[in-house]
Subunit: 182 residues, 2 copies
DNA sequence: AATTTCATGTAATTAGTTACATGATTAT
DNA sequence: ATAATCATGTAACTAATTACATGAAATT
């Protein structure tokens, strides 16, 4: 059974612990968001499909009068997750507008490449700040894979920001400031 | 006028030089592919829309009996490209299955995280080899933005592969080999 | 009292891939 | 002769976002 992109993240999230669609979405936004996003428009229909396929099962768990369904993996769902995890990865796609603008920067004339690099750097510094905030809010999970990936995200964005700074510096030797000034 | 994702790469490619849809596609595959892809199913319909909007114009340039249309930017198209390039980037999306598998690796048990890291490393080594081949085939363009981005791609994939190797080594002190052995 | 968060869902739209179809030209 | 490349395009399908809609509970 071929898993859809959103099925992959849902099954994985439910392997961490049973949870509702809303909780899946909010945890995605604090964790996999920077390399694997998911919206409500994907999550809720996919939860129904996975339940129909017998990979997950939902249980009513309302808070007062507000209805709520918590999903957990079935044995078949756990098996499907394991099967997927053991195969080498295939999907590796990016949509990086900052890089595209640097790539075409020469169309603006010789002086403009530097500013495109600084714009790209700025975007990664913003991502970095968001990930650092997540790191600060977290509680003892040093030995988990989820924390390892958070560290990856932080170091990854640092590396890119530094690469941009270095490339900008090589174009013009003035110091690079943190703020955009235009 | 809001440019579609594919319009951005088409206008940029035509700023490098006039070319056909086929040539746009093959150059994308050798250059922006690793951070901004485009398929024929996107390119040909978008070329028609951009021509209808007056941003590009096509000229018949057949090779013998095989018909062929070469597109170039109009002044309005050049303006649209410049307007887009000068605004800070917004789109920054990834679909990174290797990272997602590392993220959920604990579901397989404690020993499996290492293999997921090595799988992810392998994928980036493959990207790296493809980009190095492009670099070897290229001719004097050291001072262009397109070459800068190629260098970025190479160093970026190197950095990720090394990060994976380092993380795998910290989990188990045996040496990391280039080949998958399972 | 008002705002934010929790909670679930759908409809419309946009984006994108993959497979198919056709045919000329060039290289082996 | 055959295969690879050049060249253009569409149809079917999959994926994904965005906006909308509704309403309860918790917080300020």
């Amino acid at each position: 059974m071929e898993l859809s992109p959103t099925a992959k993240v849902i099954l994985g999230m439910l392997s961490l612990s049973p949870r509702s669609g809303y909780e899946i979405k909010s945890f995605v936004d604090k964790s996999t968001r920077f390399f694997w996003a998911a919206s409500y428009g994907q999550i809720y229909p996919e939860l129904r499909k996975l339940e129909a396929a017998g990979l997950i099962e939902g249980e009513d768990a309302p808070t007062g009068d507000r209805k709520r369904t918590v999903f957990r993996l079935t044995p078949a769902g756990e098996q499907a997750l394991h099967d997927w995890l053991r195969v080498p990865p295939e999907v590796l796609e990016m949509r990086h507008e900052g890089m595209l603008k640097v790539f075409f920067a020469d169309a603006l004339g010789p002086g403009e490449r530097r500013q495109r690099l600084l714009d790209m750097r700025e975007q990664h510094l913003e991502k970095l700040a968001a990930l650092r905030a997540v790191e600060a809010a977290r509680t003892k999970d040093e030995d988990t894979s989820t924390y390892l990936i958070l560290r990856f995200g932080i170091e990854f964005n640092e590396w890119i920001a530094e690469w941009c700074e270095r490339a900008a510096r090589e174009l013009a030797p003035e110091p690079v400031n943190a703020e955009r000034s235009r």
